[in-house]
């Protein structure tokens, strides 16, 4: 196709590079923050930089981080999933009850995954095909899942988890516990899918402009559905890890405080609540940050409520920064 050429206007293209630089700077904030906090902590806390401590932090972050990855997929579509932690506790409770009744740990693990996937499907169907607002859908399913898990357990934690389940899930490969491996592998896998796969491209396109995505031939409903199913899967993996880590399962392991932690991990990791932006590695970094902040405040013996205040402020601050950058462009 030969198009006759016309003179270029330099002014049209001048504004671009500056803005891109700013966007890059924003993406580096979480990493910079992580470095600062690590620096301060290693100066103040003895043995902070030891390998053991490092693995311990990752171990503590694994379940939270997996949920943050699930939420990241949903946030990229421009939605939100508040039900992840309650779905996690609901499937954990069901799996734990099954094992307590003498069920096999392997089947129990698959049961947890299946329940969580089913929960994700419910959210996905409601958002993608019934066109309901994600916030309302997942706020309601959050109430359902957490209510159900407390109701069926009579608000008592399920104990009597087989040792074999705990030791298998928490086993070390070399020096690294399985939950840490799962967390890291899932992060890398998701990062690869987001940046390189067809589905990842579609996810960002849907979150950026769903109407344009639909006109371009993207199966937008299937993409939305997939994001919620993925977040269900993440909740299921987190359920297995949490049950093994605590040795019990109860309705409170997915409380409001955990919802806050999951959202702040993603947001702190640079995942935009406006959709269309965010990475798995970002969510990973965000999770570590949240854990370090929590641990430091605990170490300083700060009140649980002060910790809540801090996390709330951090979320608002990050969303504000995100919003400012977006308005500029």
């Amino acid at each position: 196709m030969a198009i006759h050429s016309l003179p270029t206007e330099a002014s049209e293209v001048l504004a671009a590079p500056q803005r891109d630089l700013k966007g890059r700077a924003f993406r580096l904030i979480p990493v910079a923050l992580l470095i600062v906090i690590l620096g301060v902590l290693s100066a103040v806390v003895p043995y902070f930089l030891s390998l053991n401590n490092f693995i311990s932090i990752l171990m503590q972050s694994a379940a939270l981080g997996l949920m943050a990855l699930g939420l990241t997929a949903v946030l990229i579509t421009g939605g939100i999933d508040l039900s992840i932690p309650s779905l996690m506790s609901f499937s954990a409770v069901l799996g734990a009850m099954y094992m307590k009744a003498g069920g096999s740990p392997v089947v129990a693990s698959f049961l947890m995954l299946a329940v969580a996937l089913a929960g994700g499907c419910v959210n996905g169907l409601a958002v993608a095909w019934l066109k309901m607002i994600p916030f309302v859908v997942t706020l309601s399913t959050m109430a359902v899942f957490s209510g159900a898990s407390i109701w069926i357990t009579n608000a008592v934690s399920v104990t009597g988890i087989p040792r074999r389940f705990i030791t298998t899930v928490m086993a070390d490969v070399g020096v690294i516990p399985i939950p840490v491996i799962v967390f890291v592998v899932m992060t890398l896998l998701m990062q690869l899918l987001l940046t390189r796969s067809l589905y990842g491209r579609w996810l960002y396109a849907v979150g950026t402009n769903i109407r344009a995505a639909r006109v371009s031939g993207i199966p937008t409903q299937r993409v939305l559905f997939g994001a919620y199913v993925f977040s269900g899967l993440a909740a299921g993996l987190a359920a297995i890890i949490t049950t093994a880590w605590l040795g019990t399962a109860g309705g409170t392991i997915g409380s409001e405080g955990v919802v806050l932690d999951v959202v702040s991990s993603a947001v702190l990791g640079g995942v935009s609540i406006y959709g269309g932006a965010g990475t798995a590695v970002g969510a990973f970094v965000g999770t570590i940050l949240i854990k370090l902040i929590s641990n430091s405040l605990n170490f300083l013996q700060a009140s649980y409520y002060l910790v809540l205040v801090t996390k709330g402020v951090v979320i608002v601050a990050f969303v504000a920064v995100d919003s400012l950058f977006r308005r500029k462009s």
Partner: protein, 505 residues
């Protein structure tokens, strides 16, 4: 005439990298309409935003009625009698007429809204325009034309002495347009100074007494309308001979039938639509706003449900098949009416925007992973072919000009090598230069063997491109015309005049 009522003197404004206004002087007299003409990016909007208090100028001053004025906010400007009738209707659809008109100026008594006084004010304002709407009607239940009447009536409330109309006819039917021109005449007779921004030159000759033409941030001509010809205006606007190419049409010979649409029906939108498309032709789909042109495109693309009828694809070298909504995207490309809301992924790069419809063909050996190197080379190929001005394929499309943004969407579909192109208002909001480029692209698509269907509100544009016309009225195709159709025939048929006499064509 006496002294000018409004004087904007030596107004200058610099944005990063661009001199948006280079010492512009504009005068407007009471009781006169001055046309502000220029291509996109000429500085019309910037100049009017300075007047309206939206943008602070870097230099120069404004005098109204001999007094210096400096507006820091739109509210200050409106207090001094400067009113803006925006291109996109700036009303709140879920509120009623009364609330919309008074939203910044509710009359109050003891701190509460005095609705009785408010109704009086609104009714008077509407009456001046010759209208008597029920004031409690929600604005979203009004036609675009009536909505605009409400917006104009609102300017009358504030005793506006200068009213700026920014492309006021872009969403109006021809009857509503006539009504608007009559209202402008009334406003002039009451001594209001009118500034009329438009691309459509016919309107300039109908409405305005004087014209100010801008190009690249500077005033390049100022004259009485009576002393100007259409050609002169276009030439001044674009400053070259590009104007000639703008209205040229060359003969094409249509090839084999590509698509037949049979009795297509979508309740409330499309009514028994049948037509065929041939390879290598440009078909003008002409009709008034709301006649179902966009809805037809969306139905063909599989974006909206079809209740009855079928779409048959005659792919060269294979059998005639029913075209399923899922397959539509593999043979058709569509430029949407509004590229910002349902065309582009604004914060994303040119590369991501252009490959998004073609990803399935850019995968790595059948794996569901995008082959980045191929994606980049294909993107570069189309950026070059379409002459998209950019720093790199990673530049964000939000930072491109309108014409280049539109070319990005064109490139998105060209990549998929579609047999059929559906173009909905492909040049809306583009400057003359970009329009000419788009027209050349459209012609090339047809010459390369695609069937192109084009929708445009600009009759001149559609006539310069089409080999054949389909005219739509209220969801039906009422008539087909050959390339020889006259402007009058097309206009009359679309307004339903001859359609009733001659039946379905």
């Amino acid at each position: 005439m006496s002294d000018p009522f409004l004087r904007m003197v030596d107004v200058r404004k610099r944005f990063p990298g661009v001199d948006a206004l280079k010492s512009v002087t504009l005068e407007a007299y009471a009781g006169e309409a001055v046309a502000l003409i220029g291509a996109n990016g000429a500085g019309k909007s910037t100049l009017m935003n300075v007047l309206g208090g939206v943008i602070a100028p870097d230099g120069g001053y404004i005098e109204i009625d001999g007094k210096r004025a400096a507006f820091r906010t739109p509210a200050e400007a409106s207090r001094d009698g400067v009113a803006f009738v925006h291109q996109e209707l700036a009303l709140m659809p879920t509120l009623n007429i009364l609330d919309n008109m008074l939203i910044t100026s509710f009359p109050r008594r003891k701190g509460l809204i005095d609705y009785r006084a408010g109704e009086e004010l609104c009714r008077n304002a509407l009456k001046q325009l010759g209208y008597d709407f029920p004031l409690r009607t929600r604005v979203r239940d009004l036609s675009p034309g009536d909505q605009q009447i409400v917006e104009i009536a609102r300017t009358l409330l504030g005793k506006s002495r200068i009213v700026i109309f920014d492309e006021p006819t872009s969403s109006l039917t021809s009857r509503e347009k006539e009504r608007l021109f009559e209202i402008i005449r009334i406003m002039k007779s009451r001594g209001t100074a009118i500034i009329y921004i438009t691309h459509l030159l016919d309107e300039v000759f109908t409405v305005c007494e004087r014209a100010v033409i801008m190009r690249n941030g500077a005033k390049v001509a100022e004259s009485r309308i009576a002393d100007l010809t259409r050609g002169q205006i276009v030439e001044k606007m674009i400053g070259s001979q590009e104007a000639v190419a703008y209205f040229q049409h060359h003969e094409r010979r249509p090839g084999e039938v590509l698509l037949t649409v049979e009795h297509l029906n979508r309740e409330g939108f499309l009514d028994d639509v049948s037509f065929t498309l041939r390879s290598g032709e440009v078909v003008g789909l002409w009709g008034l706003l709301g006649s179902g042109r966009t809805e037809l495109f969306r139905a063909l693309m599989g974006l909206d449900p079809i209740h009855r009828g079928r779409i048959r694809l005659h792919k060269p070298g294979s059998e005639v098949v029913d075209l399923s909504p899922q397959r539509a995207h593999s043979v058709m490309g569509m430029l949407t009416e509004d590229r910002r809301t349902d065309g582009l992924l604004l914060p994303m790069s040119i590369r991501l925007n252009m490959s998004i419809a073609n990803l399935k063909n850019l995968l790595y050996r059948g794996w569901p992973f995008v082959y980045r190197a191929r994606e980049e080379s294909v993107t570069r190929e189309y950026v070059k072919k379409l002459n998209i001005k950019s720093t790199s394929i990673e530049q964000r499309v939000a930072t491109l000009s309108g014409g280049n943004q539109q070319k990005v969407v064109v490139g998105r579909w060209l990549q998929t090598k579609p047999l059929i192109f559906l173009l909905d208002e492909p040049t809306r909001g583009l400057d003359v230069e970009a329009k000419a480029e788009l027209h050349a692209i459209v012609a090339n698509m047809a010459d390369a063997g695609a069937a192109v269907v084009i929708v445009s509100s600009d009759l001149d544009e559609i006539m310069s491109l089409s080999d054949r016309y389909l005219v739509m009225v209220r969801g039906r195709i009422v008539k087909e015309y050959s390339a020889l159709a006259t402007k009058h025939e097309l206009l009359a048929t679309a307004s339903g005049i001859s359609a009733q006499a001659e039946g379905v064509g």
